[in-house]
């Protein structure tokens, strides 16, 4: 067996880790995949390890004491999801080294395993494909290879080999990473830390430079959240809470129950207890509620709340991260044409990647479709034109575009398009098969429209008065009435709506809530065996669209 690890060496290792992460933290920041989930992973992890590495030097202390000291420093400085997990890794390592003066590789390896287990414990719902997985894989790989001949350098080489391999596997475990074409940022930060620790193992004397704490205030762009913005991601909220005897019975305090409480108020919860200090990281829409609730248990030592929609200014990075992968191409993409916010949203929530604005009153061009194809970046793209006048432009775009297999499903109404898309399951199918299936689903669908008549005339045996509402389907007029609900109701009768399974009623821009409700009630009363669903389509031109499936 090789030399032993003492307190001085371990302290030097952590410093080395901090320095190397500092040098590379821009690269780690750049790996953030979410709009801005959590601030920047690189900064957060650096601030965490820095507050461990800058804890006052402890010359002459044993390994156990030094590691406890460092872990405590990290606890106080931990921020961000990955930072908090990192601090738990070191807390676990410290627990594994408790009372140890000097550790051999085997003891050290076991302590690292403890670090991994402790990190898993701290997270309410451990997610694979993150720093958790990367660290666990590495300590288990390197641990298995320890034998009588293993040197400390060899052990660290094994750790780093597997850290990197596991990091490259993270996109296979976590779809968000694959879609963003990156590896996990927390895992990447860990790679830099362990590489820095290795420098110390090789005898490099690490000198710490005071980089100062990067204040998040000056590198965020507050213009990214304006008076028109809608809070979508909530607040990243972090605090250290000192449990108070005056408030609770410390012996009965259960961190699991406390965590459940926090989880009910937000997500991405990481929390743990260290003596009478509780560290919590949570994403929540209502930080005030969280603070009020937890203050029942103690008082705050530190507190940080950040709006997650504020975009941090991009750090300019010269060297691209070597693990960065090509933007992943989707297997299937969907383009649908619709107008009206409600209708567009319906298509989006059904899984349309791009909704091209258009329809009866405004037909999109082939160029509009090609732009949508470019954005989607998929092997196969299905197009739902949803209007007879749009099908040709879509087909022409499909002919012109050769970077994807494009299939146009010739849906003539939004009803056909919606119905086909809601039943379609493209998984495991070729573009041809999926398009064929979608076309099949669209076949049985009847779409009726109610619009205001533009002139007085007689059509299909119905006398039409300007200003009245007419009900029509497939270019045949079935009803005319000064009341739009009556026009819709008669149209339904003529189309034998009661024989269908489902009627989806899309209220247009021109229909009031009261009118929509009146029609809904009337149809529900009339067609007892049919399921009737009312949606706000917000479409122009058609006061009501009735989708009969």
């Amino acid at each position: 067996m090789d030399r032993l690890i003492n307190g001085v060496l371990f302290e030097n290792m952590v410093k080395g880790g901090a320095e190397n992460l500092y040098a590379n933290k821009g690269i780690v920041n750049d790996l953030n995949v979410f709009p801005i989930p959590d601030g920047d992973t690189g900064d957060n992890m650096y601030m965490t390890i820095d507050s461990g590495a800058s804890a006052p030097s402890s010359d002459g202390d044993g390994l156990g004491e030094v590691s406890a000291h460092i872990a405590h420093g990290m606890l106080l400085g931990a921020r961000g999801n990955s930072g908090v997990i990192l601090s738990r890794i070191f807390a676990g390592i410290a627990a594994g080294l408790e009372g140890v003066e000097e550790a051999d590789i085997k003891t050290f390896g076991e302590a690292l395993k403890k670090g991994s287990a402790e990190a898993y414990n701290a997270v309410s719902v451990p997610v694979e494909g993150t720093i958790l997985t990367v660290f666990r894989d590495a300590v288990s790989f390197a641990g298995e290879r320890i034998n009588a001949e293993t040197t400390l350098e060899g052990y660290f080489a094994d750790l780093i080999t597997e850290l990197r391999r596991s990091l490259e596997r993270t996109p296979d475990l976590l779809d968000v990473l694959k879609e963003a074409g990156v590896v996990d940022s927390g895992g990447a930060g860990l790679v830099y830390i362990v590489e820095g620790m290795k420098n110390a193992v090789y005898g490099e004397q690490i000198t710490r430079t005071d980089h100062g704490a990067p204040s998040s205030a000056h590198n965020i762009n507050i213009d990214t959240f304006t008076s028109d913005s809608v809070l979508e991601f909530g607040y990243c909220t972090e605090f250290l809470l000192r449990l108070q005897k005056s408030k609770i019975d410390l012996d009965k305090f259960d961190i699991n129950e406390f965590t459940e409480l926090v989880k009910s108020l937000g997500d991405s919860v990481v929390s743990f207890r260290d003596g009478t200090i509780v560290k919590v990281h949570v994403h929540t829409m209502t930080p005030g509620v969280v603070l009020n609730e937890v203050q029942k248990y103690g008082e705050f030592l530190t507190l940080k709340i950040e709006n997650m929609m504020l975009q941090h200014n991009e750090t300019v990075i010269e060297n691209r991260f070597e693990f960065k992968k090509e933007n992943v191409r989707k297997k299937f993409g969907v383009v649908a044409v619709a107008s009206g916010e409600g209708l567009k949203e319906m298509f989006r929530s059904l899984g349309a990647d791009e909704v091209v604005d258009g329809g009866q009153s405004m037909n999109p061009s082939s160029g509009d479709f090609i732009k949508a194809f470019e954005k989607i970046n998929a092997d196969n793209i299905l197009v739902f034109p949803n209007n007879g006048n749009v099908i040709l432009a879509a087909m022409q775009a499909a002919d012109m575009y050769d970077k994807s297999v494009i299939k146009v499903v010739p849906t003539k109404t939004v009803g056909e398009g919606y119905s086909a898309l809601s039943m379609l399951d493209s998984e495991g199918k070729t573009a041809d098969e999926a398009a064929e299936e979608a076309e099949e689903y669209a076949k049985g669908v009847v779409t009726g429209f109610v619009s205001r008549a533009g002139r007085t005339t007689e059509m299909d045996g119905v006398s039409i008065t300007t200003g009245d509402f007419i009900g029509f389907s497939d270019d045949v007029v079935y009803s005319d009435s000064p009341d739009k609900c009556a026009a819709a109701s008669v149209l339904c009768d003529k189309l034998d709506a009661g024989s269908f399974d489902v009627i989806i009623l899309l209220a247009g821009k021109g229909a009031t809530d009261e009118e929509a409700e009146r029609l809904y009630d009337e149809l529900t009363e009339k067609y007892k065996d049919t399921e009737i669903i009312m949606q706000n389509g917000g479409q122009p031109l058609h006061d009501f669209i009735l989708v009969l499936e």
Binding site: L261, L265, G351, M423, D501, I533
Partner: protein, 290 residues
């Protein structure tokens, strides 16, 4: 002596538990900062109230219970010299059993003579419920823990459950159903059909347009996969969907005879937090699950 346990995720109520002598482990859910343990924090589950709250936009979360909780449940019986058989909901859907094992191994050191057995129903709500009832009968008939475990090995997969979902928001959020294509979102008028597979996981197996078709499809599975259904319990479970309960009961009776025995259960709130309102399912004795 041995005592039997199950958990509230199997839909067993204290009243039905008493019919067989089951002890109940309460699986919690949380919302608005409150964590609620079914039948510990309330006596009777008011399903209508609960699912109306979900309709109103509340999205509860659920969590694993702690090791300490398991210690509280199990220790008194081990102390007493009893063995325990725990018939639980699907291990493939939860992490809570890690805490359970930690508790049991701690208790084993203290009570080395005590035996702890488990049966994984590879289901949740009515998929588990039907198995819990069958095992309850065996227990009442005086079968030993070994005999019950042998029975479970051969029979657990012979109970199937098919259900339809309404608002996929709940399922998608919980991440507990596989097979939904990534694109699938809010489906209007279309109901995904879900079953529990042999691994004890929920999988989506297709969609039906309109409620009638969805109900017909559930019944079709019962006819296709059912095996000696009339001599075993038939369970209808729902998340506040009374009208459809009536309808499918009538359909089952029309097919299997007016004397067919059907038990209707309200899906427990913890599992219901992951399903949302307006879901309906049936479970029955069947050929082996896929």
């Amino acid at each position: 002596m041995f005592v039997i346990f199950t958990d509230t995720d199997t839909d067993l109520t204290p009243k039905r538990a008493a019919d067989y002598g089951y002890h109940l482990i309460s699986m919690p859910y949380s919302y608005d900062g409150k964590t609620i343990y079914p039948y510990e924090d309330f006596d009777e589950f008011k399903d209508k109230e609960f699912y109306d709250m979900l309709r109103g936009g509340v999205l509860p979360t659920t969590s694993a219970i702690s090791k300490e909780k398991y210690l509280e449940y199990f220790e008194p019986y081990f102390k007493n010299g009893d063995d325990i058989l725990y018939v639980h909901f699907s291990e493939a859907m939860t992490m809570t059993f890690t805490n359970m094992r930690a508790a049991v191994s701690e208790l084993h050191e203290k009570y080395p003579a005590a035996n702890f057995y488990t049966v994984d129903t590879k289901g949740i709500t009515i998929e588990s419920y039907i198995i819990v009832l069958e095992i309850g009968e065996l227990y009442k008939a005086g079968k030993s823990a070994q005999e019950i475990i042998e029975w479970a090995k051969d029979n657990v997969l012979n109970y199937s459950c098919y259900l339809f979902a309404d608002d996929l928001k709940f399922f998608k959020r919980s991440g507990r159903v596989s097979g939904f294509s990534a694109a699938m979102g809010t489906l209007i008028g279309v109901r995904p059909i879900i079953t529990m597979n042999a691994e004890g996981k929920m999988v989506s197996i297709g969609k039906e347009r309109g409620k009638k078709n969805a109900l017909n499809r559930l019944l079709a599975y019962m006819e296709e996969k059912g095996e000696d259904v009339k001599n075993h319990p038939i369970i209808i479970g729902h998340t506040d969907d009374d009208a459809d309960v009536e309808e499918i009961s009538a359909m089952i009776r029309a097919k299997y005879g007016e004397d067919t025995n059907i038990e209707v259960v309200a899906a427990n709130p913890t599992a219901g937090s992951h399903c949302g309102p307006n879901c309906l399912g049936i479970s029955f004795r069947s050929v082996k699950r896929d």
